[in-house]
């Protein structure tokens, strides 16, 4: 099944390779992976979605956790977490259908970020399910091109919180 992993890593060359290596050496396919710096620029947070067998999940978290650059790894698959994804969709839509498209896109809180004579580019965020529905809808307007960010996740429960300094702490230390 798909496992959702959130991890705090040192922002160092090779950190991504090490984490990805634990997955790929076991033949697990990475469905998506996002990574970016935290408030503390020496740290990054990664969100990984991967196809992992049920009996391999705990072991995977432990084996990722023991990497020298990994500060904490948590399995959010079954825990309360906010999961969001960004998608950019370019739709080659005829002029007379553009108004209808805008109305329907509004239902998904998607908005147009670029327009040209032949196409609209729409941006939307949401759960993967919501985005799948949006994509299905927009395809009915014409051929599309699409880029998805992959999932980002943040734990709701305290025990799965990653130990990143909060914004206030960071601001204070910067003086």
């Amino acid at each position: 099944m798909q496992q959702l992993i959130s991890l705090l890593v040192e922002n160092k060359p090779g950190a991504l390779m090490r984490v990805a290596g634990v997955l790929t050496s076991r033949g697990y396919n990475i469905e998506s992976l996002t990574v970016a710096k935290t408030i503390d620029p020496t740290l990054s947070i990664m969100t990984i979605v991967a196809e992992v067998g049920d009996d391999g999940r705990d072991l995977l978290i432990k084996q990722i956790s023991r990497l020298v650059n990994v500060i904490k790894a948590v399995d959010l698959t079954d825990s309360r977490a906010v999961r969001r994804e960004l998608v950019l969709i370019k739709i080659y839509v005829e002029e007379e259908r553009r108004a209808a498209l805008l109305t329907e896109a509004e239902i998904f809180r998607a908005h147009v970020v670029d327009a040209s004579p032949e196409a609209y580019t729409v941006e939307a965020t949401g759960s993967p399910d919501k985005l799948n529905a949006l994509i299905a809808l927009l395809r009915s307007y014409g051929p599309i091109e699409m880029v998805r960010s992959g999932a980002m996740a943040m734990a709701r429960a305290k025990q799965n919180k990653l130990p990143v300094p909060s914004y206030t702490e960071a601001a204070l230390s910067e003086g």
Partner: protein, 579 residues
């Protein structure tokens, strides 16, 4: 402080870490390092192949517990190290590998002798570095040593670009090391967990200790012996654990697993509490996992949390370094001895007696011969010479298992075996590293005729350094363990295992300027061995043994450990003789 070159900073860092010897091989991009070594007291041992530099560094590390250091140039130098690094990773041996990298300006341009060492060594090491800035060099080297020896030990590689080696900078010592935020060393287990473990240990009627390399890494031998004595529990070792408890201790049974003894494997099958100490429930130990210690509850102590529940679910897992954990347990066991009522104590003594009786009744057996030298008889002779005190390094295969079965070890860090990765060619270079570490100890490399050929060029290193290592080739003219599997499981279709045409050992050794000889008649064996070990320098002894001997007992791959093949079937033996 005077500005130093990167190469000088590297050597200074190695010296500050207490490195006594570097096993290495020079090349284009490491020229600046070798220029520093030219006039530096740090000892560099020029090996004949980089793989053997990594194995020799392991030999040093396994003998001392300190990190062994190896060095290689970029490209092929670095890729040749890889087997030795994976080997160290599998057996949790601390090694620091230093490699040169092409200048930064050339990286990614397919420069001469460029390889992605950082990428290639990622899965071959516990951690690795690419140093592109001289200001990070000394701290990186100190970090590498810290990571290599602490926690669960392992190999760490530091790849340094040539421009860094040539540029100028300052040395800063390990005190200035940045905290490693993602590197957590296990704390002592909490008191509650220790109490639960003590309760678990006293409740058992048939406790059985299964101890491995983690106990040796942790230097916890005396704690282990005390633990077994307090519990009055029999103890088996993995191939990595041999020597942690002295072979002749009355509680010691033997090695367990695929070629473990009857008593060790039946003991683990019949116990009701299995205590795994510094072990990883490897498939060569457990055989069929669901039949391994089927009636036992498991207490698993390991420094690496990822080992707990990896292969066998533990009823109780204690994460921690074996030495402090065993100390805590021993303390509490001594205080709570009265918890063990008379009835259970008697049951436990009967159990201990039962396992000891199995050991007495089922020793390792083999058919003696006056015609041929039996490999097991050779091991017994070598054991007499060692008396449990020599450093013994082995390759991988039949000779390794016979040596593990028949040689005694009175102390830890005497037995060196490529156990996890199973690398042929390990024994000879490991013996070199061990001899540098322990010049006063007898060091013997017991190798097969197959593996010996993989590290043959190191006879040059042994000769050049006048290293009095005794190389004993157990020569059965075949790749014996592969042949054994073909014999037992592939209908004797012996495919590509014939490595006859072994060179004349005295000529071969003589060509390197060292002494050597061969023996094939059992009547001459004592004299040949005496000659080899009396010789003050190195010696290569080729011992021609029975070609078609199998290692028993044997648990077929995927079988349960209590379903051992104890001896060859009579008709099978005849058929083999007729082949």
């Amino acid at each position: 402080m005077a500005m130093l070159s990167g190469a000088q900073i590297l050597i200074e860092s190695l010296v500050r870490e207490g490195a006594e010897a570097v096993f290495g091989y020079p090349g284009g991009v490491t020229l600046p390092i070798y220029d520093v070594l030219y006039s530096h007291p740090l000892r560099h041992v020029l090996v004949r192949h980089e793989q053997n530099a990594a194995f020799a560094a392991q030999g040093y590390a396994r003998a001392t517990g300190k990190a062994g250091v190896c060095m290689a140039t970029s490209g092929p130098g670095a890729t040749n190290l890889t087997t030795g690094l994976v080997d160290a990773l599998m057996d949790s041996i601390p090694v620091v590998a230093v490699t040169g990298q092409v200048p930064q300006a050339l990286i990614g341009r397919d420069a001469f002798q460029e390889a992605d060492t950082f990428g290639i060594s990622r899965s071959a090491t516990k951690h690795n570095y690419l140093v592109k800035d001289i200001s990070e060099l000394s701290q990186t080297v100190h970090e590498a040593f810290h990571i290599a020896v602490s926690g669960r030990p392992g190999p760490v590689l530091v790849d340094i670009t040539k421009d860094v080696l040539l540029s100028k900078g300052d040395y800063s010592d390990e005190q200035a090391m940045m905290p490693l935020r993602g590197y957590r060393l296990s704390d002592e287990p909490d008191a509650d967990a220790v109490e639960r473990a003590v309760e678990f240990l006293w409740q058992a009627e048939r406790p059985y200790i299964y101890a491995g390399g983690g106990v040796i890494s942790s230097s916890a031998s005396s704690e282990l012996v005390r633990f077994s004595e307090l519990l009055e529990a029999p103890l088996a070792h993995t191939v990595m654990g041999l020597g942690a408890m002295p072979t002749e201790h009355p509680n010691f049974i033997s090695m367990l697993g695929m070629h473990g003894s009857y008593a060790a494997n039946m003991g683990v099958t019949e116990c009701d509490a299995l205590i795994g100490l510094g072990v990883r429930f490897d498939d060569r130990v457990t055989g069929r996992l669901d039949k391994f210690a089927p009636g036992a509850k498991v207490l698993h102590v390991d420094i690496d949390p990822a080992e707990i529940n990896k292969n066998r679910r533990a009823d109780l897992g204690l994460v921690g370094d074996a030495k402090p954990v065993l100390r805590l347990l021993n303390e509490r066991l001594a205080e709570t001895r009265a918890t063990l009522g008379r009835e259970r104590r008697e049951a436990r003594l009967a159990w201990m007696e039962h396992v000891r009786a199995m050991k007495r009744d089922h020793p390792y057996v083999y058919e003696e011969s006056t015609e041929e030298i039996k490999p097991q008889a050779l091991m017994r002779k070598l054991d007499q010479i060692s008396g449990g005190e020599a450093i013994v390094t082995v390759d991988v295969g039949q000779h390794q298992m016979w040596a593990a079965q028949h040689l005694r070890f009175n102390h830890p860090r005497l037995w060196q075996s490529s156990s996890g990765l199973g690398s042929m060619g390990f024994g000879l270079p490991a013996a070199m590293g061990a001899k540098f570490a322990c010049p006063d100890k007898t060091v013997m490399a017991i190798v097969g005729d197959g593996g010996f050929m993989m590290s043959l060029p190191e006879l040059g290193t042994i000769a050049a350094n006048r290293l009095p290592v005794k190389v004993i080739v157990m020569n059965n003219n075949t790749l014996g363990m592969v042949r054994q599997w073909q014999q037992l499981f592939y209908g004797k279709r012996y495919s590509e295992v014939d490595v006859a045409s072994f060179p004349d050992a005295s000529l071969l050794a003589g060509a390197f300027g060292i002494a050597g000889g061969s023996v094939a008649d059992p009547a001459d064996l004592d004299e040949a061995l005496a000659h080899a070990f009396d010789e003050p320098g190195p010696y290569l002894l080729n011992v021609q043994v029975t070609p078609e001997e199998c290692v028993y007992p044997m648990v077929p791959a995927g079988g349960a450990v209590n379903e051992m093949i104890l001896q060859p079937e009579p008709e099978a033996a005849e058929a083999v003789a007729g082949d």
